[in-house]
Subunit: 142 residues, 2 copies
DNA sequence: CCTTGACCCTGTAGCTGGTGCAGACCCTAC
DNA sequence: GTAGGGTCTGCACCAGCTACAGGGTCAAGG
């Protein structure tokens, strides 16, 4: 792992909201990822408050970016276990990524078929104020 | 509504499974749509069994096709209330359809951006058995 | 007549990926 | 001292189903 120029972990620890803000997610989401085992159990202050460091910001950012790329929680968990285990290889990561790329392409193809159907069906619709519609007929008698 | 050449409603009523099979969905789904108010409360036989007719087959088929086109339950409910109210106009249906078409196109555009990002990121991946991966770096330090 | 197996009924819990709320505590500033 | 923010926990909720438990019913076969 490359080190960022920022301060190392226990400079001044972040609260849950601080972490959430830094990573651009909600505080409940942090807890959810913790429950789901994607984020480790953090240290606690004397008042029981969670304390986070820069590592957590990076990790939560990783999760967020992966999720925004559409990876499932399980896929993210897989990548994180590679990272955590230090036994990460580029080949393994590539496999997850390409598999996901395939599924994205499949979803695009599916949506394009859908788009055509919707365009076709709505083109047959006169759009007038009449109680008779080709869309409804198509759906009812399809 | 156009009449189909099939037998009218109470020829020999269908059971829940019969209806589900005809419409190509599971029997639990039928109950779910009933609870959700998309399907009407059916008549019951003396044993309390639900009894369905051809109208129900058509309606459930309508719901299934609309769902397969990606309409939400709420959108389907909207269309059905137009159908039920008999005050259906082509213009109203067209509006739902076009709005949905827009959202499908937006999803396609979003997925295409995603596809490019994934393709880019995986192209930077050597795919070798080395403990260092451009994908992970991109996600960690993005 | 009895059993087997398929079906039906209801209520309820689970799934994914969070979001939000209640009720309690804590901490800081004014 | 009190107002406001923050934090803690546990829980319920969203879509859109799916599945299971624990019972009842029914038709066919032996």
């Amino acid at each position: 792992m490359r080190d960022t120029a920022a301060s190392p972990s226990p400079g001044r620890p972040l609260t849950r909201k601080g972490l959430a803000d830094r990573a651009g997610c909600g505080i409940e989401t942090v807890r959810y990822y913790e429950d789901a085992g994607l984020m480790p159990e953090p240290d606690r202050g004397p008042n029981g408050y969670r304390l986070y460091g820069e590592e957590d910001v990076r990790r939560l950012g990783f999760i967020g970016r992966a999720r925004r790329l559409g990876l499932t929680i399980e896929e993210v968990r897989g990548l994180l276990s590679l990272v955590d285990g230090e036994r990460i290889t580029c080949a393994e990561v590539r496999e997850t990524t390409l598999r996901h790329l395939e599924s994205v392409r499949a979803r695009i193809a599916e949506l394009r078929r859908l788009e055509r159907t919707l365009a076709d069906v709505s083109a047959r619709c006169s759009g007038e104020q009449v109680p008779d519609c080709a869309v409804i007929d198509a759906l009812m008698d399809g």
